[in-house]
């Protein structure tokens, strides 16, 4: 009788010990899983910063491409005996381009959309102080101007081909993203 009781007691102790061991193992596994989850959350946040940085770089590249293209439009650049003058726009060509844009706005927009995409391109005369302004491309498509736009201002010469006099102008390119 006493042997049976002793055997039962030993058996119960063994079960309790096993239960304790299992509990301990489960606890350790849960704890490690929690640590791994925390690690994944941290690394995801760090990756998010990296992705935002890459997106910013791409937006910058896009703005640079559009600025380069706008400042070298052959349709509007000054030229003397076939030689193109860099950073210079012909006032008469600008006026003619604007008149054409008003008549054929759809075709002009479609033609230049592949280069300019969502942007506004304007040229403004600074000196002498006139109110001359030419908008050569306009496509905002409902973008919020104050939030996601980048404005580039590039000084350009504006040539009057009749008098051969150059004035100080500004090429304003606003890109939306």
């Amino acid at each position: 009788m006493s042997c049976d009781i002793l055997r039962k007691m030993i058996f119960r102790n063994k079960i309790k010990k096993a239960q304790l061991q299992m509990g301990e193992t489960i606890f350790v596994v849960i704890f490690i899983i929690i640590l791994i989850v925390f690690g994944i959350v941290f690394s995801t946040n760090a990756e998010e910063d990296s992705i935002r940085e890459k997106q910013k770089t791409l937006t910058d590249l896009n703005a640079i491409t559009i600025s380069k293209y706008a400042s070298s439009l052959i349709e509007l650049q000054c030229s003397t005996l076939g030689v193109i003058d860099k950073s210079c726009f012909d006032k008469y060509k600008l006026t003619a381009f604007m008149n054409l844009s008003e008549k054929e706005s759809g075709q002009i927009a479609e033609y230049y959309f592949s280069q300019f995409k969502n942007a506004n391109v304007t040229i403004k005369e600074i000196y002498p102080p006139t109110n001359n302004e030419w908008t050569i491309y306009y496509n905002e498509l409902g973008f919020n101007k104050t939030k996601k736009s980048k404005m580039t201002n590039i000084p350009v010469s504006l040539l009057d081909p009749i008098s051969k006099q150059k004035s100080f102008g500004e090429l304003i390119i606003t890109t939306f993203s």
Binding site: Y127, S157, G169
Partner: protein, 176 residues
């Protein structure tokens, strides 16, 4: 012997907990190392790609455009006004409103600078050195030649030929 059993069990438990604590510490230190390498603080003088392009373009285009600008009152370009103001032969240009070339030059540069560089709110340093004694300079937000983060300046010399010497127009833009 039986008295030592609880003590041994107690020591086993301590050892197990100690091991667990070490594992946690190692994982925490590893994560801290990883995060510290991943999130580098921004170099304050590092320009973005866009700034690099924009500042170079503005610096060179501004000086070129300014020099070719025609001042109708004086019937001369800014470049010609610089030569007339700075060279030894003296000031021959007189503008319609009575100003001499140096006054017209200063007024024109100030006006254009106010309408462009100041409006765009860039920190810049703009200077026109006529000779060793005379210099017109404008600095905004402490952007001098010694400022860290200042881009390569657009430098445009204008020789006084056939007179000796030359004027130098220089513009440099700093990072925000």
């Amino acid at each position: 012997m039986t008295k030592n059993k609880p003590l041994i069990r107690f020591k086993n438990a301590q050892t197990e907990i100690f091991g667990l604590v070490i594992i946690v510490l190692i994982i925490t230190i590893a994560m801290l190392f990883y995060l510290s390498f991943k999130t580098n603080p921004d170099n304050p003088t590092k320009k973005t790609l866009y700034q690099e392009y924009a500042y170079n373009e503005i610096a060179t285009s501004f000086a070129q455009t300014l020099l070719h600008t025609y001042v109708s009152d004086c019937r001369a370009t800014v470049s010609e006004l610089i030569i007339d103001c700075g060279s030894l032969r003296g000031r021959r240009i007189v503008c319609a409103d009575g100003r001499n070339s140096c006054e017209a030059l200063n007024d024109t540069i100030v006006y254009i600078k106010n309408e462009t560089l100041d409006e765009w709110n860039y920190p810049y340093g703009l200077s026109l050195k006529l000779d060793s004694n005379r210099k017109i300079s404008f600095i905004k937000y402490n952007c001098t030649t010694d400022t860290v983060g200042r881009g390569t300046p657009g430098v445009f010399p204008t020789p006084y030929y056939p007179d000796p010497g030359m004027a130098v127009l220089e513009i440099g833009i700093c990072k925000y």
